[in-house]
Amino acid sequence: MGGRTRSVVTTVSAFALLVLLWELVKLVVPDDGVVVGGVRILPRTDDASMPHVWTVIAKLGQPEVAGAADVRTVGAAVAQSALYTLGLALGGLVLGGVLGVVLALVMLRFRLAERAMLPYIVASQTVPLIAIAPLVAGWGGKIAIMGWAWQPWASVMVIASYLAFFPIAVGALRGLAGPNRASVELFTSLAAGWWTTLRRLRLPAAVPAIIPAVRLAAAAAVVGAIVAEISTGTRGGIGRLIIEYAQTATGDPSQLYAAILGAAVLGLVAAALVSLLDRALWRYRGAVG
């Protein structure tokens, strides 16, 4: 438990340090930034460019539209959309996780499949997300699965899974192929079949490789969901909210910063969920036989 307390303390002090640094820059650097020979090497620090941290926090309690008391507060809006995006990102993570593990199993079972598929799996990640997002949204509009019409949020989830499956496929393949020859032969000597060996040896032995992969995938799914919301124009999520607030940010950037803060917290929550998974699987975290 000592390690846990320490990690909480570290996280909190890192955040405090960031706030301190932000305020320090505002204090030290002139409002107009620093310009050397016509090139601005440090940004403007006036309140319109870099609002005070407390201004951003205070903004969370104010209504979304200035002066209108009956609309939701900025904080509520940010929390609501962050939660919506978190749902989509987690859905994408689960989808990508299943796809990644299935691909890893196919590659493990058939060496030929590994040689045939791995280059394309790597190549899939070099296609810019911005390019495929509208494509997925376009295809999605044309299909209905068993009477269920495709929804825009489903496109976001698919795009998030497109980023999430990659680290999981690679990590799972490495982990599943991890057990040494002696362990595999032990299972052969026990007359254990492929599935039994998978369940009792390969999967447990792969956990230490899969957990970091899931952590990477969770971060990728969050980024994927936010970018997908923006590029497909899906409403309701934090990606869309950032765009909306950015358009009204010219006079008062604190609202935009509040939304960005929400996106950052969203990433932290996703990472914390993976840590819970890690804790649940503590038994398998040790060294591999």
Partner: protein, 269 residues
């Protein structure tokens, strides 16, 4: 099928007849003829590359012979493996880190769908046999190398095999631990009644443990000589570790060591 032949082979724990094994151009084993009686302790010894491990792996059905027949307890090797008629231990204990010591011992039974209560009882019994009853709930990482190897032996004994195959199980242990483990193994083998096929490259180890020492030579791997081990008192009710220490100082022991050494030297010429 001659009933006489099958009745005869049913009496022997292992029967190898004209076994050849070839890896590409390399003749790993050539014309191996060897029979282990029930409860007999036989060591395979020879320089690296003489095929002693390959021979053990052929018996375990981890390698297929290129020619010849392999019978384990009167069955083809493959059938014996599927029926779990043998237990095996390697140089690395190969314990699964995420299982407790008891769960590692239970593994063979778990794989074969034996019920939990029966598994528990059998593991407790085996850990008692190898002197690790107090460590049932420990993780393998908490044990010393010698203790891990004893867990691996207990695991090999879990399905109550008539045959124990061991590929240099004490090779990674220090000399003191090793000698203690040899005494332990003799006691365990006697109590379980299993025949043992034991691969080693230590001459004293082979002599002190075995009823017979099979000397092998490389290129091609074959059996050059079989030397009687000088293991005293097979029929004695108890063999204490101290007795094994005594054996190491007898004239018979030195004579057998010399015989094995000379057989190895002859093979090298």
């Amino acid at each position: 099928m001659s009933e006489l032949a099958s009745a005869k082979s049913a009496r022997s724990a292992v029967e190898l007849d004209g076994v050849d094994k070839r890896f590409g151009d390399v003749q790993a084993l050539s014309g191996i003829e060897l029979t282990l009686d029930d409860g007999e302790f036989v060591s395979l010894i020879g320089p690296s590359g003489c095929g002693k491990s390959t021979l053990l792996r052929v018996v375990a059905d981890l390698e297929q012979p290129t020619a010849g027949t392999v019978q384990v307890g009167g069955k083809p090797a493959r059938q014996a493996r599927l029926d779990q008629d043998y237990g095996i231990a390697f140089q690395q204990s190969g314990l699964l880190e995420w299982r407790t010591v008891a769960e590692n011992v239970e593994l063979p039974l778990h794989v074969h769908g034996v019920g939990k209560a029966e598994r528990r009882a059998r593991a407790a019994e085996l850990l008692e046999l190898v002197g690790l009853a107090d460590f049932a709930g420990s993780r393998p990482a908490q044990l010393s190398g010698g203790m891990q190897q004893r867990v691996a032996i207990a695991r090999a004994l879990a399905p109550q095999p008539k045959l124990l195959l061991m590929d240099e199980p004490f090779g990674a242990l220090d000399e003191m631990t090793r000698e203690r483990m040899q005494a332990e193994l003799l006691r365990i083998a006697r109590e379980s009644g299993a025949a043992v096929l034991f691969v080693t490259h230590s001459i004293p180890e082979a002599v002190v443990l075995s009823d017979r020492v099979v000397v092998m030579t490389p290129r091609p791997g074959r059996i050059t000589e079989i030397v009687d081990g000088r293991r005293p008192g097979r029929d004695a009710a108890e063999l204490e570790p101290d007795d094994v220490e005594d054996v190491r100082e007898t004239a018979a022991f030195f004579a057998a060591v010399t015989a094995v050494r000379e057989a190895l030297r002859k093979g090298h010429q």
